[in-house]
């Protein structure tokens, strides 16, 4: 991330970001990208949010009328109005993040780089920010590059996922492909009417038994397995669980995927 934004000079290899070499043209590049570090703010701690944003206008040399127009738009989208005149130090984390996002977008960059933007945020703030990101991506065509440990962000936002493990590329592709890469079977959760020994049916393996509840990893078509289970047992409830992205990624990190050839 720091090489992409020109903060670090790569020791070897090369990088191009929006057609520029970040470490050589860092200042020029800064005009074309918006950067938000989730763990630190670019806003002035002691000044009202509005002041930091208007300073941003000067740093990025945005004409006053264009700035006013964009600020009005972002104020509406991110609901900044109630705290535009509040000193940044008094803002909540979610409010500050919305302020930082605004600061990063006022010069309308084609690329928005977000480093852990949802870290430490509550559920409501997270979803506001995700909705907002989806919207600017759709409406303005802003490319969004996001690093995150919150896989909810990934599932909600990303078309293309790159998994990096210890500095090596472990996966690069879409979400469905990512799911397909790692054989994480779907799981059928069966609630029986009464506790029973592990169910044995064709096309599934019982991996866990807890009282009347049993977990079956599916190897076959779920409908067929379900009919076999219901044929032999009295079933109170059934749930089919899709593997979540978290499971896929952790499987990837454990090296379960034979995808060395893709790298």
């Amino acid at each position: 991330m720091k090489m992409l934004t020109g903060i670090l000079t790569p020791t070897s290899g090369s990088v191009r970001v929006v057609g520029r070499d970040p470490s050589r043209q860092r200042t020029r590049l800064a005009r074309d990208i918006g950067v938000v570090f989730g763990q630190r703010t670019t806003l002035w701690w002691d000044l009202p949010l509005r002041d930091s944003l208007s300073l941003t206008r000067h740093l990025y040399r945005v004409p006053a009328d264009v700035h006013a127009e964009r600020l009005a738009e972002l104020t509406e989208l991110l609901e900044l109005e109630p705290f535009l005149d509040t000193p940044v130090r008094q803002l909540s984390l979610g409010q500050r993040m919305r302020g930082d996002l605004t600061a990063a977008l006022l010069h309308a960059p084609p690329l928005l780089v977000l480093d852990e933007p949802t870290i430490g945020l509550d559920v409501v703030s997270k979803s506001t920010i995700r909705e907002f990101l989806l919207r600017i991506n759709r409406e303005r065509g802003t490319t969004i590059l996001i690093t995150t440990h919150d896989l909810g962000d990934v599932e909600r936002l990303c078309d293309r996922v790159i998994v990096i493990d210890k500095g090596r590329l472990a996966f690069d592709g879409g979400l469905p492909e990512l799911r397909a890469t790692v054989p994480t079977p779907r799981v059928l959760v069966v609630d029986l009417a009464a506790p029973a020994p592990a169910i044995e049916v064709e096309g599934a393996v019982t991996v866990r038994v807890d009282g009347p509840r049993q977990w079956l990893e599916l190897a076959d078509n779920p409908a067929r397995v379900i009919s076999r289970v219901t044929a032999g047992h009295e079933v109170a409830d059934l749930t089919l669980r899709e593997p979540d992205i978290e499971g896929v990624v952790s499987a990837l990190y454990r090296g379960a995927a034979p995808n060395e050839s893709r790298v």
Binding site: K2, G6, I7, R26, T27, A30, W44, L59, R61
Partner: protein, 285 residues
């Protein structure tokens, strides 16, 4: 056009010229910081008062020392005050303009240096303007007053050359102090805790140059002339203004070298800064 502008900015050798090219940005940032510190008016006024009192106390010490000794290294009290004021003005101005450079290590540790790097403005301008506070005027204003008094009271032969040379000498002093300040600050690229070590050169150097350096040993005089050229901040200019031979026996033409030393040192500072920036490793990931 913006493209050529920024490419040229990258090719600039001297950070000071960088500063000259972005004075509006600097002024804007400084003003923003001023408003930020003005959020705490009581603290600001007390700090300013404190800084002013501290400079007055230093000045008082100079007067007391000279009053007891009569003359030091052949300097009378007003001549001594001239040396003091030249030093205090140069350091005060350097600190006013770029005083936060010595907090580089702190910015690196907290990651705020990274946020400076992703803005389309020279990080040096941002760093120099960082935490700009009007309280720093508390140092430079008393120094200027004393400088004027000393210039009036000393027996100076005001030839045209000396009149023209005075602003040049002052500017050179400011450039030298700023460069020393910057080089010392850049040490923190390599050792983020180097602030104290760096301060021994910056503040230590300031204390040193506030007195006629002939009172110190030969080794020290030579090292502040040839190694860390602080002698060109106050001592050599004072010798020139007062038309004195150098009591330490160093060549007389040295006093005209102030501007040359200033430019050379600024170039060195620029190179050190760029080298440090390229080697910068950031913190965390």
């Amino acid at each position: 056009m913006a493209d050529t502008l920024s490419t040229r900015r990258w090719g600039l050798p001297a950070p000071l010229r960088d500063l000259a090219r972005e004075p509006r940005t600097y002024a804007r940032l400084a003003w923003t910081w001023t408003r930020a510190v003005a959020q705490y008016p009581m603290a600001l006024s007390l700090f300013t008062l404190g800084v002013t009192l501290a400079s007055l106390a230093e000045m008082g010490a100079v007067v007391v020392v000279f009053a007891h000794a009569g003359t030091l290294a052949g300097f009378t009290v007003y001549e001594g005050l001239l040396v003091y004021a030249l030093a205090a003005f140069s350091f005060g101005a350097a600190q006013l303009l770029t005083g936060s450079v010595d907090r580089l290590g702190e910015h690196i540790r907290t990651g705020s240096f990274d946020t400076m790097l992703v803005r389309p403005v020279s990080p040096l301008v941002q760093l120099a303007a960082d935490q700009f506070s009007p309280r720093r005027f508390g140092r430079i204003v008393p120094a200027l007053v004393v400088l004027v008094v000393a210039l009036v009271m000393c027996d100076i032969d005001w030839t045209l050359e000396r009149i023209l040379m005075l602003p040049v000498l002052l500017a050179s002093g400011v450039v030298i102090c700023t460069s020393v300040w910057l080089i010392a600050g850049c040490l923190q690229f390599f050792a983020t805790d180097a602030r104290e070590a760096a301060n021994s050169v910056t503040y230590g150097g300031q204390a040193l140059t506030e007195y006629p350096i002939a009172i110190y040993g030969r080794g020290l005089v030579r090292s502040v002339t040839y190694v860390v050229p602080l002698a060109f901040v106050s001592w050599q200019p004072a010798l020139h203004l007062l038309d004195r031979p150098d009591p330490t026996g160093l060549p007389g033409f040295l006093r005209f070298l102030g501007p040359v030393v200033a430019v050379a040192l600024a170039l060195v500072a620029a190179q050190v800064w760029r080298f440090g920036l390229r080697r910068y490793r950031s913190t965390g990931s």
